[in-house]
Symmetry: C2
Subunit: 230 residues, 2 copies
């Protein structure tokens, strides 16, 4: 399959939003979304000229965005040939989730003692919303839920790393989240996590989160290794 997600021309919206020095960031964001959402599939060639036309800019800001995308691990360059969307694999998925467990449990352990009741309440609100929400909203609400519990760790590097891992994971999530009864189990795990946070019980909270992430990863892993699709 080819990079035909680049066909729709939305330069009208993008090109004149932030004038000087921000185009590349918007392009980066847009391409990242395209890869995560699956509009750009693994192996797709990213033609600079096509992207430039799509966004209504020259190739320069495109290149800038591509360099950063490569650093984030979403694409890879081969010299004089161009950039292709990084492949997906069950091993990669497993690795991402192993790293998420390590990074997010560290962040949570550091965050729990700093959590305010207000923040926990806010997380609970999000959880309540999430349980009523549609599948399209689930992703953002879920991300917000996790973020609010981890942010108080106040570790910018770690949080950026986690965000990158979650983006990487979302590439795999897309395929499966719609089909599975993942949501139900996730909700009760979130509830347990909130309880542990309320008691400021680091170990319990960390174990909840570890289990939560691991089970999510397991589910995806099984789904990916079974169905050879995507």
């Amino acid at each position: 399959m080819n990079a035909n997600a680049t066909q729709r021309k939305d330069q009208g919206a993008n090109a004149h939003s932030g004038r000087h020095g921000e185009q590349a960031l918007e392009i980066l964001q847009a391409l990242r979304v395209d890869i995560i959402s699956g509009e750009l599939t693994a192996g797709s060639l990213l033609r600079q000229q096509l992207l430039a036309e799509r966004f209504g800019v020259s190739r320069m800001p495109i290149r800038e965005a591509l360099y950063r995308l490569e650093a984030e691990g979403f694409i890879s360059f081969t010299p004089n040939k161009g950039a292709v969307v990084a492949p997906v694999s069950a091993e990669d998925l497993r690795e991402i989730y192993e790293m998420r467990v390590a990074a997010e449990t560290l962040a949570l352990r550091l965050a729990v003692p700093e959590l305010t009741n207000t923040q926990i309440d806010r997380a609970e609100d999000l959880q309540i919303e999430m349980e009523k929400a549609s599948l399209t909203e689930f992703g953002t609400l879920n991300a917000a839920f996790h973020r609010i519990l981890l942010l108080p760790c106040a570790r910018p590097r770690l949080l950026a790393h986690i965000e990158n891992l979650e983006n990487a994971a979302d590439r795999y999530l897309r395929v499966t989240v719609a089909t599975l009864d993942y949501a139900g189990k996730s909700h009760s795990e979130h509830r347990a996590l909130l309880e542990a946070c309320r008691r400021r019980d680091q170990d319990a909270a960390v174990n909840c989160l570890r289990q939560h992430i691991e089970e999510g990863g397991e589910t995806l892993y099984r789904h990916l290794t079974q169905s050879a699709s995507a």
Copy 2:
């Protein structure tokens, strides 16, 4: 202090080494080394024109290298003003070491069952060499020692992440490694780690590594918070 490390002109060596599509990578490497080694100090402005002259190329490959450096966390851009070398701080150092513990213990846990006796022997050789080596060689030998024990985990994302963290840590290491009696303690810790690996004792090995990294971080942290220099 300004970016006067950019004065020496070494374009003769760099410009014609790899012709098409590799300049940026060499420049990236060179700038990374300059930042880690301290030739480019925190807050230094990175003038594209100066760098272009230093490396004997146009501003284009410079920009490419800078974008990637930013993604690695070594510099940061402010729109229309340019790039500056990222600041250092005790909190950042602490964070790096917290992340190293999480990432490297994960890698080691996965690597230990895969380790061959040959690899452990090779690590021991490196350790023996290290104990006789000078301070200038210590850094590379130490890195090689850790790498050989972690590589068998076969997790490319994780290993790249660890490499980035070690580069980030090296920025702080530089200041202190010369002055401290860090080496002696490090050697015995390495020995203990090797022993645990020989027994294929995951938990013991992971605990050794955790302690090793934590103590290294502690030492640096104390040194950095005491002496307000650099």
